[in-house]
Structure formats: structure tokens, C-alpha cells
């Protein structure tokens, strides 16, 4: 149950967009159409579910203080935490590359629709953010995977909801200076207000 709760918490309560403001750049830039938002959302869920557990393994068996004892007992005092950023980002960049190649091979149709979004995911803050939060939260590997999936799915829901609203927004009269980014920020604020309703729920 705990695993399931972690995923739910990631989706609704600790939503990447509304609670941590992560992945805002692509959230705002790729939410003009539901179709493309769907593609990006799926890719984010996919990459997050893979990278968080991989980074967990890295943190647990390489980076953490005393993590290298599985090679030799004398490595006990080695603390490689300062390499965390560079290792995590390298894992993410290569995982994204890997996922891109796998999808291209297995499903050219999906690859075609995700196309340009896949490489962009490497610099999506939500991906690196979840890995960093995962370290802070002290999960085990199953919980970490579930957390990765949950936060990815939260992003997916948020971006699709915003894209749907923005598609409708095309037909309304928005003041010229507020068009585009401005009104989107205000809408995101209102959506955040709605998501606040989940905060009281203890899981």
C-alpha cells in the first residue's frame, strides 16, 4: 500500500508543476495543443520511471558516503556526493538517448509523434528534480520507482489539462499584453488553487 500511496502523493499532492514548479519551461512551451502535450507527457512518464531507479542505484552503490564498501572495505570513508549533479545529469542524458533509440526501433509511429520532444526531456527540470528529491526522501528502490512514475504522471495530467484549456482559450478575447505566457501563468495559478484541495489528504 505504501508504494501505491507514494505514487498517488506524487501525482496529486506533491505535483511537480503545482507544488514544486518543476518542468515549467516545457509545461508552458509545449501546451498549445492537446496532441503534442500528450506526447510530451508520455515521454516524461516513461523517462522518469526509468531514471529515478537508475539514479537511486547510483546514489546507493556509488555516490553515498561509504557506498563503495561493496567493492572493498577500505573504501568506507569515501564520499562522492559532490559528483551527484554531474552523474545524475549524465544518466538522464544517456537514458533519454537510449529511450529515443529504443522507441525508434520498436515503434516508429510513436517515435514520429514524440520526435523532437524526446531530446528536450534531458533538460526538463522535473526529471533532475525528482532524482534530487528522491535522494532527500530516503526511499528504497521500489518506492523510488513508484515516486518516479507518480511525479511523471502528475506532470502528464497537468500538461494535458493546461493544453485543453489553452485550446479553448483561442476563441476568447485576451488583452494583447496578456496573450500567451501571461494568461497561461494566471491560469496555472488557478489550476494550482484547485490542486491545493488535495493537500489536506493524508496518505
Amino acid at each position: 500500500m505504501e508504494v501505491f500511496n507514494i505514487a498517488l502523493r506524487g501525482i496529486f499532492i506533491d505535483n511537480m508543476i503545482f507544488a514544486y514548479y518543476l518542468g515549467m519551461c516545457s509545461f508552458l512551451a509545449v501546451s498549445k495543443k492537446v496532441e503534442t502535450a500528450f506526447g510530451l507527457g508520455l515521454a516524461v512518464v516513461f523517462v522518469l520511471t526509468l531514471t529515478v531507479p537508475v539514479n537511486w542505484l547510483l546514489q546507493e552503490y556509488v555516490l553515498k558516503e561509504g557506498a563503495l564498501t561493496w567493492i572493498d572495505g577500505s573504501f568506507e570513508s569515501i564520499d562522492l556526493t559532490f559528483l551527484q549533479f554531474i552523474m545524475f545529469i549524465a544518466v538522464i542524458a544517456s537514458m533519454v538517448q537510449l529511450v529515443e533509440m529504443i522507441i525508434e526501433k520498436l515503434s516508429p509511429a510513436l517515435y514520429g509523434s514524440l520526435g523532437i520532444f524526446l531530446p528536450l526531456i534531458a533538460v526538463n527540470c522535473a526529471i533532475l528534480g525528482s532524482s534530487l528529491f528522491m535522494v532527500q526522501k530516503d526511499y528504497n528502490i521500489i518506492e523510488a520507482t513508484s515516486y518516479g512514475f507518480g511525479s511523471g504522471f502528475g506532470f502528464f495530467l497537468a500538461i494535458i489539462a493546461l493544453a485543453a484549456i489553452r485550446e479553448r482559450l483561442k476563441y476568447s478575447k485576451v488583452p494583447p499584453g496578456l496573450k500567451g505566457l501571461g494568461i497561461t501563468m494566471l491560469i496555472t495559478g488557478l489550476m494550482g488553487l484547485a490542486f491545493k484541495a488535495f493537500i489536506g489528504i493524508a496518505l
Binding site: 514548479y21 515549467m24 549533479f85 544517456s94 528534480g129 500567451g180 505566457l181
Partner: protein, 226 residues
């Protein structure tokens, strides 16, 4: 051989031009454009994540601005120096490695000299790596321009980012906590019953303040998105 020869020729041609003034008009524009007409946050829609996340109070925002300016300037400089050596296909990873190294420096520096601030900023220091402004400037400017121009461009974008997030933080701290730099301004002028607004401390306040700021800034600069 012929390719090499043309490269040498090109370099010679460049050298023949009279040296550009240290702060010529073009270079001034590189610095001043991102401050308003081409602002990274309000016009180019980059670097929003950290603009929202750290702006609850002015002090962490100031630290964050300094960190970002530092990272952008030096990443621009380093990438610009290496721009002819980086193979096109792996440039993203090279850029990420440079940025990650600089961010690690900032993070370790904060941990050593200002541990409280390091705790407050938490994961968001690490997230400078994926700050789209940094990657955007590397990709769009440093990969194609000389080191000195790249430094100027980094300064411009950094300050363009800094003044926006400082403005957002000013309003959020003023209305959300009733203080400026942790100085209780309303209590100081005798208004002890000032109603602080919880929404301003929350993410919603950040979205709304930034949305309104974008509205004002775009109305002034006349930029309209289609």
C-alpha cells in the same frame, strides 16, 4: 588541406578588420536587450521553474540570482572557447557537463560558507543545471560567438533574469510575510495588524505575480504573442 587553407584565410581576414571598440554599440545591445525587449523570462519563456521556486523571500532569491549569473557567464565563456572543438552530435552532453561542473562549484561553495542558505535553496541549486536560460544561451549564442561577446551575453541574460525574479520576490515577501529582507516593514511603521496573504507564500501567488509582471512588461515593450 584546402579546407585548412580556407580556415587560415578566414582567420587572416578577420584579423585585418579594425578591432571593435571595447564597448561598441552592438556589444552594449548584447547586454541591454535581455533586460527588457528580449527578456529571458517574460519574452523568451525560459527559466521559469527557479523564477517561481525560490522567490518566497528576497534573500534566497538574491543568492540564486548571483549563482545563476555566475553559471551563465562562465558556462558561456567556457563553451565559447571550446566551440570549435565540440562535435555537433554530442554538444548537449558537453554543455551539460560544463554547466554541471559550475553548478557543483556553486553548491559546494554555498555548503561551505553559507550552510543555512544551502538548506533553504536545497535542490534548486542543482536545478540551475537544467535552467533553460543557461542551456538556451549556450546553444543560441556561445556556440557561435567569440568569448568576450559571450561573457557580455551571459551578463545581459543573467541580469535580465535577476531583476525579474527579484521583483517577484519583493512582492511575494512584502505581501506574503509583510517584510523586506526579513525586516518587518509594516511593524516598523506601526501597522501591526497588516494582513499577510498566505497565497503569496504559496505557489499560486508566484504564478499570479509573475503573470501580472509579464502583462505589464509586455504592454510596455509592445510585444504580443500569437
Amino acid at each position: 588541406m584546402s579546407a585548412e587553407a580556407t580556415v587560415v584565410e578566414k582567420e587572416l581576414k578577420v584579423e585585418k578588420k579594425p578591432a571593435e571598440a571595447f564597448l561598441s554599440k552592438r556589444r552594449k545591445n548584447i547586454v541591454t536587450d535581455p533586460l527588457s525587449d528580449d527578456n529571458p523570462i517574460t519574452i523568451q519563456v525560459l527559466g521559469i521553474c527557479s523564477a517561481l521556486a525560490v522567490t518566497v523571500k528576497l534573500e534566497p532569491t538574491l543568492v540564486m540570482s548571483i549563482a545563476v549569473v555566475f553559471v551563465i557567464v562562465f558556462a558561456n565563456l567556457i563553451i565559447s572557447l571550446m566551440r570549435n572543438l565540440i562535435p555537433g552530435r554530442i554538444r548537449i552532453i558537453v554543455q551539460l557537463a560544463v554547466v554541471a561542473t559550475l553548478v557543483t562549484l556553486v553548491s559546494e561553495f554555498l555548503k561551505a560558507y553559507s550552510y543555512d542558505m544551502y538548506k533553504v535553496l536545497g535542490a534548486y541549486v542543482g536545478l540551475i543545471i537544467t535552467n533553460c536560460i543557461v542551456m538556451g544561451r549556450l546553444e543560441a549564442f556561445a556556440m557561435a560567438n567569440k568569448p568576450y561577446d559571450s561573457i557580455l551575453d551571459g551578463l545581459g541574460s543573467g541580469f535580465g533574469y535577476a531583476w525579474i525574479i527579484l521583483t517577484v520576490a519583493f512582492f511575494r515577501e512584502l505581501l506574503g510575510s509583510g517584510s523586506i529582507f526579513d525586516f518587518k516593514i509594516f511593524e516598523a511603521i506601526g501597522w501591526t495588524t497588516f494582513p499577510t496573504n498566505g497565497l503569496m507564500v504559496d505557489s499560486i501567488g508566484a504564478f499570479v505575480v509573475l503573470g501580472i509582471l509579464i502583462w505589464i512588461q509586455r504592454s510596455k515593450s509592445g510585444y504580443v504573442e500569437h
